[in-house]
């Protein structure tokens, strides 16, 4: 009787573990606090860059104090990935319509917005001044898809 109960208990725990793994896989959520969302078609300018490796979009605009605050953070991350297959691209929406189209494609409503793209086009989107450690984890995650 006791062993029957034990087997049921183990089966229940195993089922819960399986469910948890499956759920996190479906939603692409991990414990680092970012989420890759699919269903966004990258604009051509971005998809061309995605051929060789992950792409990081840094979307800013003029007169945005947080954009200036985040600029050295993105520069620092960029220097950490020098010589790798990671591409960093700055888009200032005041510069041209291409930047505006990229911002629109990723539903950007506030700046700075940093977008990390995986090979399948799914995107982790960070609005505001980001935590460099979290973005770095997302970039490493994206690299693992290539």
């Amino acid at each position: 009787m006791k062993s029957k109960f034990r087997i049921r208990y183990i089966a229940l725990i195993a089922a819960l573990c399986l469910l948890s793994v499956t759920m996190s896989g479906c939603l692409n959520i991990n414990q680092s606090g970012y989420e890759f969302k699919g269903g966004i078609t990258p604009p051509t300018v971005v998809s061309n860059l995605m051929q060789n490796g992950p792409v990081i979009l840094f979307i800013t605009q003029n007169n945005c104090p947080d954009c200036e605050q985040a600029r050295p953070l993105i520069a620092n991350l960029q220097s950490q990935y020098n010589g790798t297959n990671v591409t960093f691209v700055n888009f200032n929406i005041n510069d041209n319509s291409t930047s505006q189209n990229v911002a629109k494609a990723y539903g950007v409503t506030a700046t700075p917005t940093t977008v990390v793209l995986r090979k399948d086009g799914s995107a982790a989107i960070f609005v505001g001044v980001f935590d460099p450690g979290t973005v770095k984890s997302a970039i490493d995650d994206a690299r693992s898809t290539y």
């Binding site: 605009q61 007169n63 104090p65 200036e68």
Partner: protein, 71 residues
């Protein structure tokens, strides 16, 4: 809510608001994107419609001009 006691931040945001007032005729939040749709953009005239929720959630608005009032 109250103004951010960080004067440098307030100054930066004020400059952004002034630049937008000059260019667009309205004090649009400097960290939000102007769509060109007058009705839609009305939402981001400072203080924007998002500020209350942001103050509740993060203790400050996205531009960090306003913060939750300290008791």
């Amino acid at each position: 809510m109250q103004l951010n006691p960080d004067e440098e931040r307030v100054d930066e945001v004020a400059k952004g608001l002034a630049a937008r007032q000059e260019k667009f005729g309205k004090r649009y939040c400097p960290c939000r994107i102007i769509t060109g749709d007058t009705e839609e953009d009305r939402k981001i005239i400072c203080p924007c419609i998002y500020h209350e929720e942001e103050l509740k959630e993060h203790g400050m608005c996205h531009c960090k001009l306003f913060i939750t009032k300290k008791q």
